[in-house]
Amino acid sequence: MSDVDLTTTVAGLTLPNPVMTAAGCAGTGKELDQFFDVSELGAVVTRTVTLDPVAGAPMPRMTATPSGMLSAVGLQGPGLQGFLATELPWLAQRRARAVVSIAGATLGEYGELARRVGNSPGVTAVEVNLAIANGDNRGRDFASEPYQAAKVLEVVRRDVPRGIPVLAKLSADVDDIVDVARAVTKAGADALVMINAVRGMAIDPRTLRPTLGAVTGGLSGPALHPLAVRCVWDVHEALPEVPVIGVGGVRTGYDALELILAGASAVQVGTAVFADPTTPMRVVADLRHELARRDIACVADVVGRAHHQEGDRP
């Protein structure tokens, strides 16, 4: 079983295994390091870093929903300066592969973040969170319009040094995710991360008012998994040459394998880490087992495998 090869490549990066944490779901990395060695993961994706410190959304920020949760944290974080002073150096010193998630309110902010993060030591890749209200476009999400999303990727790709891949994180709350995928890869995204939490809402049975302080929030967890599989499938079908990182409801090794079979070269684990902090490393072990029992020697061989008829392997 130990001879299953979990090595994967995404946008020119070679990772020892395809399992990463998801943005905003691993704290600073330190919290999880008490449970397992974070440098053993394929990569650690940071919380989304903003230019200025953000206090975040009012409470309640979370409510449990069937097979998932709704949350609205509002990108609480220390801002770029605080992040670069403490969080990034810690990840670098731990030798974790750090994928830094960034978000700006305007194109200018994305550009500044890209420049300053891209030129900091210890950055493995930059992930662009597009599920952000665009201050220049009546507050609509950058992720919801292919044109706006592409403009962000153009700016970020221009300002991040060449050797560092730029990943575009997409939302499923769009007319056609393939259109957005096509637009951002044309604009320079080296890989796609799919999907972000989808907008949802719950109403409190006692107060009969919206449960979350922010009214709406992101639905995440296993409830989201089939949607993530479908999005990865659609994009891999249309753009087979574009590397994809699958995210949404991964809790077991088979959940990870499913995204890989649909076309993902790597996966991220989010909400399941809240339920059990050891989930990411358990998914690594579990994935190895899922491959071994199917006599698959290399995970890289089955990326997109579900798209091929039996026997006609690429």
Partner: protein, 283 residues
């Protein structure tokens, strides 16, 4: 740490349930004020998130290996499942978590005030304080007699015990914090330790301040992860530098200095908090 635990027993205590879990390794690391996050619902459950419980007692050794005990009322399907769990049921345990009560270095006078099942963590605390030579006084309150927890045990744990119920069925009629001002001066209390719902903690912190005592309050915040990664459990707390930050109840807390918490602002993000939306700003 995370361990595969097992239910040893669940007993009814008035309106509450007293759960004893076999969870080797957790008890050794336990300090009063710490909590555990328990997986509820079993393997087929669609309830993903853990429930967090303040630790009542923890015994490192014994006939069953290390055990951890918690006390809770049934408030949702998760606690209902735990309350009905048969002996032997597997329960995943993460803990002990959180920053515990700070203990005084000197043998000072301490008043411990708890409300409902919130009284549970005060007994382990009382033991540690007595070991240090502190004088321990206790006030236990509840809405009704059935919701009181530990009134008998308190007689062994503390020099002075005052019991209050809001319906007057047991002890003094009123809230536990109603009797605090008088008790704090009578016992010359130096430190107040409190555990219970927010309004009670707020009142305890104010009573301590008025009397010139320190206060250590353990907040009850809903938590999605308990381990500091989700940021859903935050509350506004004033730091050493005078700046208000949204800090995590599970990691920076659950125990905070009572004079540091902005009690009236819990639930919101105060305008002057670090990183709060600038008036007229983009975020």
């Amino acid at each position: 740490m995370r361990v595969a635990g097992e239910v040893l027993s669940v007993k009814r205590v008035g309106a509450h349930h007293h759960l004893t879990l076999v969870a080797p390794g957790v008890a050794e690391r336990f300090r009063p004020g710490g909590f555990v996050a328990l997986g509820v619902g079993g393997p087929l459950s669609e309830s993903l998130l853990r429930r967090t419980f303040s630790i009542y007692r923890a015994r490192p050794t014994g006939a069953y290996g290390g055990t951890v005990e918690v006390v809770f009322p049934v408030t949702d399907p998760g606690t209902e499942w735990l309350a009905r769990a048969a002996a032997g049921t597997a329960v995943d345990v993460v803990g002990p978590l959180g920053r515990p009560y700070a203990l005084p270095k000197e043998p000072v006078a301490c008043t411990l005030v708890g409300s409902g099942h919130g009284s549970a963590p005060l007994f382990g605390l009382a033991e540690r304080l007595r070991e240090r030579g502190c004088g321990v006084h206790m006030v236990l309150g509840a809405t009704t007699g059935a919701e009181l927890f530990g009134a008998l045990e308190a007689k062994r744990a503390a020099k002075t015990v005052v019991v209050t119920t809001e319906d007057g069925s047991v002890g003094i009629t009123g809230r536990p914090t109603d009797v605090l001002p008088e008790l704090l001066s009578r016992t010359a209390t130096d430190v107040v330790y409190a555990s219970g719902p927010t309004p009670m903690l707020h009142a305890a912190a104010l009573a301590a301040e008025a009397h010139g005592a320190w206060s250590q309050t353990a907040v009850e915040q809903e938590m999605a992860c308990g381990t500091g990664i989700c940021l859903t459990c935050v509350l506004p707390v004033v730091g050493e530098d005078g700046v208000t930050r949204m800090v995590r109840a599970c990691t920076e807390g659950p125990v905070f200095r009572g004079d540091r918490v902005r009690w009236g602002d819990i639930g919101s993000v105060p305008e002057d908090a670090w990183g709060a939306p600038r008036v007229g700003g983009p975020r």
